[in-house]
């Protein structure tokens, strides 16, 4: 056990270090509400009033509403699609016997090794041939399956006792029915984890929209934010306001599902 004095020191140090870590985010919040002229003139951690107008101006400046809709469509569709394809594949790997199972599982897992950035050229060529560049298809379809989700559900389904399905099979239920009526309701925590990971990753992604879209009306929020930054350069009050509303969806989701999110990371580490 630590002595009380040591504990106080520990607390003090922990709080100090945490403060240094969140300082950029606190400064961002403060500055997003500062007087734009003063914020452009110099740094300050102290507020000089509540200029909510910054948010309104930033929101209107470069068509963020449209970009929010684009990002939402992309992130929600990809997330739903990944959950669907991963549930099906995960169930097959966890519960069914079929020819080539081990090899196929290894092949699926091996796709995790190659980062998307390296494959962008051939994927871009495929999308050109499909005439999907600068459409929602390009932003959505290549991301609809991911080995991480398949692995997550395979491992999770294996922890569910088989007896729960057995009765349903005796009653003549099909694989499909058992998956949706029995396994899915038992897998809410794993589904939540995948939802959070995928949605946040898609919402935050810049690379895919940067390469696969070309016109203003197809821009997502992250791409929009880089354009906004180029235009507003040192207008830091407006810039920080834009950073805040682009960041809110992913941070909010993380706060709501924190437990599942952190557990997902921790288990990926321990395997």
């Amino acid at each position: 056990m630590e002595t009380p004095r040591k504990t106080y020191l520990h607390y003090a140090l922990a709080i100090l270090v945490t403060l240094i870590f969140v300082l950029p985010l606190l400064a961002m919040l403060v500055t997003s509400l500062r007087d734009p002229a003063k914020a452009a003139a110099g740094f300050s951690l102290l507020p000089d009033g509540l200029h909510w107008q910054n948010y309104v101006e930033a929101w209107r400046a470069t068509n963020f509403p449209r970009q929010f809709i684009n990002s939402l469509i992309m992130a929600l569709t990809v997330t739903a699609g990944q959950i669907f394809t991963s549930l099906l594949a995960g169930y097959a790997f966890a519960r069914m016997e079929f020819f080539g199972k081990k090899v196929l599982f290894l092949v699926v897992l091996s796709t995790l090794i190659i980062p998307f950035q390296i494959l962008v050229i051939p994927v871009f060529i495929i999308l050109v041939k499909l005439a999907w560049i600068n459409t929602y298809w390009a932003l959505i379809v290549p991301s609809l399956a991911n080995a991480f989700g398949i692995f997550l559900f395979t491992q999770f389904f294996k922890t569910i006792p088989y007896e729960l399905e057995e009765a349903a099979y005796i009653d003549g239920a099909s694989r499909w029915t058992v998956l949706w009526k029995i396994m899915v309701p038992l897998s809410k925590s794993a589904i939540t984890t995948l939802f959070l990971f995928t949605f946040i990753a898609e919402w935050n992604d810049l690379f895919k929209p940067l390469v696969f879209t070309s016109t203003k009306d197809m821009r997502t929020v992250q791409l929009g934010l880089t354009v906004f930054q180029e235009q507003f350069k040192v207008d830091y009050a407006l810039l920080m306001a834009a950073v805040v509303f682009v960041t809110v969806p992913s941070v909010l989701l993380f706060f709501l599902g924190q437990k599942q999110f952190v557990k997902g990371i921790a288990t990926s580490g321990l395997k």
Binding site: P24, G42, T85, I126, T247, V251
Partner: protein, 290 residues
């Protein structure tokens, strides 16, 4: 259960995922290799087989060599620095401190902000005469640094942002690793007269944490190796190419200059490096599983 029916059902269940992974990962991998053996400028839309000419051209290019060195520099600094910071955070915010959950959440939050958002925040923090960092330097009596316009300081600035953003993620992994070390080792050490602190860290925590440390090392290298977005947002690969990493170089070659053959050749070389890292990972894992 009827095994023949199971076969068919299983393949139907696997079809959507495997079809997508096949079309958007495995087939592209083969096509990448093919494109890398062809001269192809996307603007002219014609492909000519040239064998290994692209590779020869790439390896002779100063730009490629610079991008490779930049990537090595970036990985070699970001990975150990990021690991040290996150291990420190994990030790500081461990379970022995009650009510620490709130602090952990705070430290983790940068990880869920987007790279673009974090990049814009750091552009501002590193601003020459309006940023926090230069205000602090000025206050300390050190002359201001024009971080993002300096070919010496741009990379450290990008690294600082990355370490800040990633630390929370690695901290979670280290915390899970620390939790898996049984308390009895520390109790036994205490009975033997070891003081909690450097001694127990050196002889108990560090060796028993090694599997976690190794895992964090591997994914940190993989994450750092594929970095692109922080450079795109903060520096556009500059000044004078000082933050152009390999992925950035591929992006420029392919989408700025349309030289798909060269870009594919660099990508293929990166695939080889990734495979090498993965092979080393498997070997390393075997070692501590024995």
């Amino acid at each position: 259960m009827n095994s023949r029916k199971d076969n068919l059902m299983a393949y139907l269940f696997l079809l959507p995922a495997c079809l997508l992974l096949g079309v958007f990962v495995l087939y592209p991998l083969l096509q990448l290799l093919w494109v890398s053996l062809n001269e192809w400028n996307i603007l002219k839309d014609q492909m000519t087989f040239v064998g290994v000419k692209n590779y020869q051209a790439i390896l002779a290019e100063d730009g490629f060599r610079q991008a490779l060195l930049n990537t090595i520099y970036y990985v070699a600094v970001t990975v150990p620095l990021g690991m040290a910071v996150s291990l420190g955070l994990a030790l500081l915010l461990n379970d022995k401190l009650r009510g620490v959950g709130f602090l952990r959440t705070a430290v983790f939050t940068p990880f869920v902000t987007s790279t673009v958002a974090a990049g814009v925040i750091f552009i501002w923090l590193m601003d020459y005469d309006r940023g926090l960092v230069n205000a602090a330097l000025n206050w300390l009596g050190i002359s201001r640094i024009n971080f993002l316009q300096s070919d010496q300081w741009a990379m450290p600035a990008v690294i600082l942002m990355t370490v800040w953003k990633q630390a929370g993620y690695n901290m979670i992994l280290f915390l899970a690793g620390l939790q898996s070390i049984p308390e009895m080792y520390y109790e036994a050490a205490a009975i033997d007269g070891a003081k909690r602190g450097w001694q127990t860290f050196r002889y108990i925590t560090w060796p028993l944490l090694w599997p976690t440390t190794f895992f964090v090392l591997v994914i940190s290298i993989i994450f750092a190796f594929r970095s692109f977005e922080q450079m795109f947002v903060m520096t556009r690969g500059g000044p004078v190419g000082s933050t152009t990493t390999l992925v950035y170089y591929i992006f420029d070659k392919a989408f700025k200059f349309g030289n798909m053959g060269h870009a594919a050749a660099i990508s293929t070389l990166m695939v080889l490096i990734v495979l090498l890292i993965t092979w080393l990972q498997f070997r390393g894992q075997k070692e501590f599983e024995m």
